[in-house]
């Protein structure tokens, strides 16, 4: 499926004139910003802490073909009135939840019976995966669509993800409202690496579990209020429903991830 999608994306992109993206004369290549406020992301893993978001940094550079966007490295190979297509390298985002897990002593076994002695248990650790993929951006008065397909190139999970996100921004002078929603298909290899439990990891507390492919969906709502050229108020709420295969994992406690942030942001050099 991934190969077919990649071929399709390449065909569409290459069939269009390959005009490189070009910033207007007065637009800086850099986009630098910071937001301070209060927010977080819930952690769906058992015995885990939510992820606080107090300071957000926005560090991006957009050249004619190359770009760096908050950790993503991209090479744009097609840009025209219809779409912008790029090769992108990134770090998988599923790993972040595994960095905030805790060890606890459990005295109830898998069968619900009392264990002879408490055993320590911590959700298994997972590695970061470097992924390479294709990304297509298109938009107009009807909204904006982002389509992407990424495959692991670091030998970590050896799976792939296909992602689609649609958003519609509405502005009335300083006020900006942006609802968005989308889906993310995660292959069996990717899903199983992050949310499965191998036979080596199983123990008295967690049984072995194999996660198959699944579809996450998400919805998001952003409200912005521009105070002046550089300062803005920002309020974001985001809900992501994990696919059933991930949600059914013994190391998963919640079947969704809720994110939120309220704060003030500053854009440098605008």
């Amino acid at each position: 499926m991934c190969k077919r999608l990649t071929t399709l994306v390449l065909l569409v992109a290459l069939a269009t004139p390959g005009v490189a993206a070009e910033a207007p004369a007065n637009e800086s290549n850099w986009r630098l910003g910071a937001a301070v406020g209060y927010g977080g992301r819930t952690n769906p893993l058992v015995q885990s802490d939510d992820i606080p978001i107090i300071l957000e940094l926005d560090i991006a550079w957009f050249g004619e073909r190359w770009f760096f966007d908050n950790g993503d490295l991209g090479l744009t190979f097609a840009d025209n009135n219809a779409l912008t297509a790029s090769f992108v390298a990134r770090i998988n985002s599923d790993r972040v939840f595994f960095g905030r897990t805790n060890t606890r002593f459990i005295d109830i076994g898998l069968d619900g019976a009392q264990l002879p002695a408490a055993v320590s248990f911590k959700p298994p650790d997972r590695d970061y995966a470097v992924e390479l993929g294709l990304e297509m951006l298109t938009g107009g008065n009807w909204g904006a669509l982002q389509l992407s397909a990424f495959h692991d190139v670091s030998g970590t999970h050896e799976g792939y993800e296909v992602y689609a996100d649609y958003r519609f921004g509405w502005r009335d002078q300083r006020l900006y409202l942006e609802p968005s929603f989308g889906v993310s298909y995660k292959s069996a290899n990717l899903n199983n690496y992050y949310w499965g439990i191998t036979s080596e990891e199983t123990g008295f507390v967690a049984p072995a579990y194999e996660a198959k492919a699944g579809l996450n969906w998400h919805a998001r709502f952003k409200v912005g209020y521009q105070l002046d050229r550089r300062w803005a108020l920002s309020l974001v709420a985001e809900y992501e429903r994990l696919n059933d295969e991930a949600a059914a994992s013994p190391i998963v406690d919640e079947d969704s991830v809720l994110g939120w942030f309220a704060g003030v942001s500053y854009r440098f050099g605008r």
Partner: protein, 130 residues
């Protein structure tokens, strides 16, 4: 004595003119936001001025060489200016000498959308939710 006179003259020269100090000029709104869907900002600007001295005063902006309005023997005034703008511009007040600006206010026009779609892409990292 001559030193004192020079010092006083220098001080007077460095001081802003009385007019510039006295003239208060306010414009609403001060920020106008455009995007690709609405690339032109069509707004009624309300300009209010006030000074301590009655006199002849004129209101200008960047869009014309002739004044938008002049007041004779007035100490304060206001004007509404319906305008469609795409660039940052200024309103300013002058006295009888229309070359000397007594007060100036800049209205910023901020274009929020970029022609580069990549600047609108969503990244999905833990540290960015915005």
């Amino acid at each position: 004595m001559s030193r004192l006179l020079v010092s006083v003259l220098l001080l007077l020269a460095l001081m802003p003119t009385a007019h510039a100090e006295e003239m208060k000029l306010t414009v609403k709104p001060l920020l106008c936001i455009t995007d690709n869907r609405n690339p032109v900002c069509e707004v009624r600007f309300l300009v209010v001025w006030e000074t301590e001295e009655r006199g002849y005063y004129c209101l200008f902006n960047d869009y014309g060489e002739t004044p938008l309005r002049c007041w004779n023997e007035e100490q304060k005034g206001q004007a509404a200016d319906d305008r469609a703008v795409q660039e940052t511009f200024s309103f300013w007040m002058t006295g009888a000498d229309t070359e000397a600006r007594l007060a100036e206010v800049s209205v910023e026009v901020l274009h929020m959308d970029s022609d580069d779609r990549r600047r609108t892409r969503r990244t999905r990292h833990v540290w960015t939710i915005n």
